[in-house]
C-alpha cells in the first residue's frame, strides 16, 4: 500500500472539496493551496527510490541508480514559485475584495459592493 501516494491523493481531494464546498473566498484560497501542494507532493514521490541516497555527489558515490531523481525536485521548485506568485496575487485580490465589498462571503459579494465604499450597486446582476 503506497501510503504517500494515497496521502497525496487525499490532500488533493480535500483541497478540491474545500474549493467547491466553502462559501468563504479565503477558505477557497486555502483549499486551492492545499490542492497545489498535493500535486507537488505527488510529483516528488516520483523521485523516490528504495534504498537510494540523496542526489549529492560525495566520496561514496555509487552511480546514477543509487541516487534519488533530482529532476522532480527541480521542477517542483518552479511549481512552488508559481504557487507562491499565484498565492500573492490571490491574497491581493482578496484584500481589494474585502475593501470593496466588506466581506469575503460569496453570497454577500454576489449581492453587490458595500454602499459606503464603492460606486452605487448596479442593478440586478
Amino acid at each position: 500500500m503506497n501510503y504517500p501516494f494515497w496521502i497525496a491523493i487525499g490532500l488533493l481531494m480535500l483541497g478540491l472539496y474545500t474549493m467547491i464546498a466553502h462559501k468563504n473566498l479565503f477558505k477557497k484560497f486555502v483549499g486551492m493551496s492545499v490542492f497545489q501542494t498535493a500535486i507537488i507532493l505527488f510529483f516528488m514521490l516520483t523521485s523516490v527510490k528504495r534504498g537510494a541516497d540523496l542526489p549529492i555527489v560525495s566520496a561514496g558515490a555509487v552511480g546514477a541508480s543509487g541516487f534519488m531523481n533530482p529532476l522532480p525536485h527541480a521542477l517542483m521548485l518552479t511549481a512552488i514559485v508559481v504557487a507562491v506568485a499565484t498565492a500573492g496575487l490571490a491574497l491581493g485580490i482578496l484584500i481589494r475584495l474585502h475593501a470593496t465589498y466588506g466581506s469575503l462571503e460569496e453570497d454577500v459579494i454576489a449581492a453587490g459592493p458595500a454602499p459606503a465604499d464603492a460606486p452605487p450597486a448596479p442593478g440586478a446582476r
Binding site: 490542492f35 496575487l89 485580490i93 475584495l97 470593496t100 452605487p120
Partner: protein, 499 residues
C-alpha cells in the same frame, strides 16, 4: 541572430515588459510605443520563423545550449509557428488599440497594464513554441497570472470574477501538471518528441490513461471548453475593455494549441475514446454557447458565450482528427482570434464614448463608421459568410465531418452558424438603426475602459485613430485569411495531412 530565431518571440516581449517600468520613470507616455514595438518585433520574429519553417522545415532550438531530451527545447514547426504568428499579431493589434483607453488610467496604472500585457504575451508565446511539457506549464502559469491580474485591474465586479478565474485557472493548470507528472512517472522524460516515442507502447498503463485524462481536463479548463468554461463569462464581461481585447482572442487559443500538440502529436491515445469525447463535447459547446449567447443583453457577456461556442468548433476539429477537420480547427484558431478581437475592440470603442455595455446601447451606427463596418465584417465572418475567413474554417470542418460520416456533427456546425446569426445580428443591428436606439445606461456596470467620457449620454465622438487602425487591420486580415486560406492550409499541410 538567425540561430536564435525560435526563442526571440518569447524573449522580446519579456525584455519589453522589464523595460516598461523603467521608461515610464522618464516619460509616462513612452510605455505605449514601447509595448507596441515589443509586440511588433515579436510578431516579425514569429513571422520570420513561419517563413523559415515553410522553407526549411521544422526548426529545433536548445535553450542555453543544453541538448534535449535533458535540456529544454523550443520547436518551430508549421503549427507552432502559425499559432505564434496569430498570438503575437493579434496581441500587437490589441496593444496598439489599447493606447487611448490605457491613457485614461490613473498614475502608474498604464505602466502596470503594459508590463502585465507583455508578460502575458511572453507566457502565451512561450507555451506555443515550447517543446517540453513542463516548460508549457511554466509559461502557461506566467500567462495566467498576468491574465488574472489584468482582469482584476478592473476593480468592482471584476474582482470576484478575477478571483474565480484565478481559482479555476489554477485548478486547470494544476491538473495539467498532475497529468504531466503521471506521464513523467511513466516515461522518465518531459521532452515532447522523446515522450512521444516512449509512450507509444504504453497505452495500457493506468499512468498513461491518468496522464491523458488530467492533461486533457486541465487544458480544457484553460481553453474554456464547455462544461469547464465557468470562469470565462464573468472574466470577459468585467475585464476592462483593453484587457478583454488582449485576453479573449488569445488566451484560449494558446491553451487549445497546447491541447492539440499534446493530444494529437505527443500522446496520440487512439485506443482511448478521447477523440470522440472531444468531438461531442465540442458539439455541445457550439450549441450551448450559442443558445446562451442569444439570451444576453450585455454585449461583452454575449461575446463571452460566443467564445465558448466558437471554442467548441476548435474542439470538434481536434476530435475529428481528420486532415480537413484539423485544418478547419487550426484555421479557426486564427479566424476566431481575429473576429473576437475586432468585436471586443468595437465594444471598447463604444465604451470610450461612454456607450454600452448593453447590446442595444452600443450605438455603433452613430458616428462610428469604422467600428460599425469592422463589427459587421467580424459578424459576417462569425456567421460564416464567404469570402471572410470564418467561412473557410467552417467549410473545412464541414468537409471533415461529412467525410468522417458524421451527419449529426455536420448539422451541429450548421446550427452553430444559425445561432451565430441570431446573436451577431442583434449586435450589429444597431449599425443600421442610425438615429433610433435606446440611450446608454452609464450607471449599470459601466465598462472599465477608463473613465466614461463626460456627458455620458452617448455623445458621438470620433473613434481614436489607434482603435480605428486596429479595427481596420483586423478586418483586413479577416478578409485576407479567407481569400488566402489555400496558402494557409498549404503551410499547415505537414501537420494536418491536408494537401
Amino acid at each position: 541572430m538567425g540561430a536564435h530565431l525560435p526563442i526571440l518571440p518569447v524573449v522580446l516581449p519579456l525584455v519589453g515588459a522589464m523595460l516598461v517600468p523603467i521608461v515610464t520613470l522618464a516619460s509616462r507616455r513612452a510605455a505605449w510605443p514601447l509595448a507596441v514595438g515589443a509586440g511588433l518585433l515579436a510578431t516579425v520574429a514569429a513571422g520570420a520563423g513561419l517563413v523559415s519553417v515553410a522553407l526549411h522545415g521544422t526548426t529545433r532550438y536548445a535553450v542555453g545550449g543544453w541538448p534535449p531530451p535533458w535540456g529544454i527545447e523550443v520547436v518551430l514547426d508549421p503549427l507552432s509557428a502559425f499559432v505564434a504568428v496569430t498570438v503575437a499579431g493579434v496581441s500587437t493589434v490589441g496593444l496598439l488599440a489599447a493606447g487611448p483607453a490605457a491613457e485614461r488610467l490613473p498614475r502608474h496604472a498604464p505602466a502596470a497594464f503594459y508590463a502585465l500585457a507583455l508578460i502575458g504575451l511572453t507566457g502565451f508565446l512561450g507555451m506555443v513554441v515550447s517543446g517540453d511539457l513542463f516548460n508549457v506549464f511554466v509559461f502557461l502559469e506566467i500567462a495566467s497570472i498576468s491574465s488574472y491580474a489584468l482582469v482584476a485591474s478592473g476593480g468592482g465586479p471584476a474582482l470576484p470574477a478575477a478571483f474565480r478565474y484565478l481559482v479555476l485557472g489554477t485548478v486547470g493548470a494544476s491538473f495539467y501538471l498532475l497529468g504531466v507528472g503521471f506521464l513523467y512517472a511513466l516515461t522518465g522524460t518531459l521532452n515532447m518528441a522523446d515522450l512521444a516515442t516512449r509512450v507509444a507502447g504504453q497505452h495500457a498503463s493506468p499512468l498513461f490513461v491518468g496522464g491523458v485524462a488530467f492533461v486533457t481536463v486541465g487544458l480544457a479548463i484553460k481553453m474554456g471548453l464547455f462544461p469547464l468554461h465557468g470562469w470565462l463569462p464573468d472574466a470577459y464581461t468585467h475585464a476592462p475593455a483593453p484587457v478583454a481585447v488582449l485576453l479573449a482572442p488569445v488566451g484560449t487559443k494558446a491553451a487549445a494549441y497546447a491541447l492539440a500538440r499534446t493530444l494529437l502529436y505527443v500522446l496520440r491515445p487512439s485506443d482511448l475514446p478521447v477523440a470522440t469525447i472531444l468531438a461531442w463535447t465540442g458539439a455541445a459547446a457550439i450549441l450551448v454557447g450559442g443558445v446562451l449567447a442569444l439570451r444576453q443583453t450585455d454585449a461583452r457577456r454575449l461575446l463571452a458565450y460566443s467564445s465558448v461556442s466558437q471554442m467548441g468548433y476548435i474542439a470538434l476539429g481536434f476530435g475529428l482528427a481528420t486532415p480537413a477537420g484539423l485544418a478547419g480547427a487550426y484555421l479557426h484558431i486564427l479566424n476566431h482570434a481575429l473576429m473576437k478581437a475586432a468585436l471586443f475592440l468595437s465594444v471598447g470603442a463604444a465604451a470610450l464614448q461612454g456607450r454600452g455595455p448593453a447590446v442595444h446601447a452600443l450605438g455603433l451606427g452613430r458616428g462610428m463608421p469604422v467600428a460599425a463596418a469592422c463589427a459587421v465584417v467580424a459578424g459576417l465572418s462569425m456567421v460564416g459568410v464567404p469570402p471572410f475567413g470564418g467561412f473557410f474554417s467552417k467549410w473545412y470542418l464541414l468537409e471533415g465531418t461529412v467525410g468522417a460520416g458524421e451527419p449529426v456533427l455536420a448539422g451541429v456546425i450548421l446550427a452553430g452558424s444559425l445561432l451565430a446569426l441570431g446573436y451577431m445580428y442583434r449586435f450589429t443591428e444597431e449599425v443600421w438603426l442610425g438615429g433610433s436606439g435606446a440611450s446608454p445606461t452609464p450607471a449599470e456596470d459601466a465598462p472599465k475602459g477608463g473613465h466614461a467620457a463626460p456627458g455620458a449620454g452617448g455623445t458621438p465622438g470620433a473613434t481614436p485613430s489607434a482603435v480605428a487602425i486596429g479595427l481596420v487591420i483586423l478586418a483586413a486580415v479577416t478578409l485576407a485569411a479567407g481569400l488566402g486560406n489555400v496558402a494557409l492550409v498549404g503551410v499547415l499541410a505537414p501537420v494536418t495531412g491536408l494537401r
